[in-house]
Amino acid sequence: MVQYNFKKITVVPNGKDFVDIILSRTQRQTPTVVHKGYAISRLRQFYMRKVKYTQQNFHEKLSTIIEEFPRLDEIHPFYGDLLHVLYNKDHYKLALGQINTARNLISKIAKDYVKLLKYGDSLYRCKSLKVAALGRMCTVIKRIGPSLAYLEQIRQHMARLPSIDPNTRTILICGYPNVGKSSFMNKITRADVDVQPYAFTTKSLFVGHTDYKYLRYQVIDTPGILDRPFEDRNIIEMCSITALAHLRAAVLFFLDISGSCGYSIAQQAALFHSIKSLFMNKPLIIVCNKTDLQPLDGISEEDRKLVIEMKAEAMKTVIGQGGEPENEEGVLLTMSTLTEDGVIAVKNAACERLLNQRVELKKKSKKMNDCRNRFHVALPKPRDQKERPPCIPQAVLEAKAKQAEEEKKRKTEKDLEEENGGAGVYSASLKKNYILASDEWKEDVLPEILDGHNVYDFIDPDILLRLEELEREEGLRQAEEEADDFEMDGEELSPEEQEALAEIRKKKNLLIQQHRMKKSTAESRPVVPRKFDTDRKFTTKRMGRQLSTLGLDPSLAINRARSKSRGRKRERSVERGEADGGDTMDIDGNQASKKLRLRSMSRSRSRSRPPITEVLPGEGLKDSAQKSYSYIETKAPVLWETFHWKDGQALRHVQEIKL
């Protein structure tokens, strides 16, 4: 609405249509199916939704109406007044007010019925409530039907109003009816206004546009004004009065010199004087039209006096704006729209006057000061007549000249390429222009990678120095290392000791293995005790070997073992020679094989046995006392049992019955 585009207001439907639209929308956009078997909350929700939906739609539509119609206080006073003139301000406001109340009423209805619906206990009741709500809303709308119709008419009329921008350059054309305003309008703009011989052909404002000095001007054609008191004016005249009153424009007051409009110059002058208050601060030009019928010079004296008076008035406005008083041409002009004589002059004069006035005003405003500062160009004041052109040093000029020469003589790379065989054959040496300490180095190829390192990471001008330092450090460090190593060597084992250690470890491992085997087989397999040595593992030879590896002399032990197991006769054979290699014997003297003992005991004793309590070497007893004690402890109870095996509990000390 800012650009006074009243064409964009939505159509206001009339009452019945309004109701129809909303109700049909409700029916389409809300769910329609409901059964009385549904849960009560669902039923309530169903109907509440319908009521609310209807209310919302009404609210929306009415709000759009209220918002889109312009508020007379908020628009330009020109439009405000124009609308007031055309459609009474009060009626307009009342209509909009009614719409507003209707909106509020509908909201209230909806709220109340929704509250009631919350307690609806059956489908029928909820439905009736909804019907009642909707019905009441529709009644409200029906009641505001006339307002809606009125607003619709206003809207249609407003859409057809000319789009006048009150702030831009405007030229207003006014005067009595039939003086030639519309014809002038047609002449200078592209507007096609009705031109007819009867009065009040133009019944409202018309806008046309024209150009002057690359700027666009609005030209407004008004209906004719009659000379009447203010209150008696009709709507049409009021339009032009409004325009005159509110638009800041150049005014062209049209005067019909010939009087063919039906009104004399005197009447027109009277009109002029009655509305001259409206010409305050506006550039005024009095245009004498229809000079083809009656030239300006040929009018009567009184008429001329009146014209002069009007001119004087017009001059006042010129002076009031600060224009030069000598410029009389711009104030009173003659023209004829029929012959198009002077039309352009009039237009130009009007545009010029308006432009000047606007520029003056703008110059006085604050904004101009800001701009003006930016336009200032500072020039030093010349103190004498000497010319001072820009100074270019000679060397630069020479260099420029030389460069230009070189450009022509230089041999390019492309020429070189073509000489040496063309694009595929010749490959330019990119290193040709390198600046190096010696020219022989230009074609050198430096490897980028060496031994897993990037060579470019190592390049350093003082690499030699640093390398020397490093080598010195390294020498020192190596010396230290050697000293350390030297200290360390004391702790090692000699090779014989290492041998011994290896043997120890082997033996230990063996023992561990045997133990593990024994452990694992002990429960599952019974072990044959050693005395039943069927494999004949335990020989004196073996014992001898083991003892000698331990570093002992085995001969004594072997002899003893043999003597224990063999008995006396065998001893002799041992003494004779051991070539046969020895028999398998038990090495433990105490546990002789049973067979052999039996045999030896059954034979007569050739050698006396020592007494029981005498300790033999190899038995492991300290002295005879210990031996006798051991007998008492171990053998005596066994002997007692063997001799007393007949004794029972009951037969103690029972004497034998003598028969």
Binding site: Y434, I435, L436, A437, S438, E440, W441, D444, L446, P447, E448, I449, L450, D451, G452, H453, N454, V455, Y456, D457, F458, I459, D460, P461, I463, L464, R466, L467, L470, E471, E473, E474, R477, E481, M488, E491, E492, L493, E496, E497, E499, A500, L501, E503, I504, R505, K507, K508, R545, L547, S548, T549, L550, G551, L552, D553
Partner: protein
Amino acid sequence: MRIEKCWFCSSTVYPGHGIQFVRNDAKIFRFCRSKCHKNFKMKRNPRKVKWTKAYRRLHGKDMTQDSTFEFERKRNRPERYDRNLAENTLKAIKKIDKIRSDRASDHIKNRLKTGKVQRQKEARKQLEQGIHLVKAPLALAQDSSLHLPKIKVNVSQAQTEENRPMEE
């Protein structure tokens, strides 16, 4: 052309090998082979993966700080070519390399020295404590060194020393 370092295991990546991964924050990760790449994708931390250089350096297994590392530095400003300098650099690289590897192996040797000392002590103790398994106390009393006893060979038996341990 440059030799880069694998981000995961810190080994050298020659041109034409491996994969480069550029993240959205423009950080570049180079990998020498798919093993490192896959480990990275699994979000493993190289400082916790035993076989990487990062782990070894962090846990002091390899040499970390040394003046030989300062010779090799990425220089962004190229030097003007000088033949003598280039020659010297190439020779120097070899020497520096040798020194660096020597120092690295020394570092490792030093690290392992304490273990060696300990092991030697243990061996000595074991020898002292276990000598009774291979040498009878009588023999020990006669010859108090911790060597294996000398076996007296009976000529008539005609059995040599070497065969004895095997028969058991």
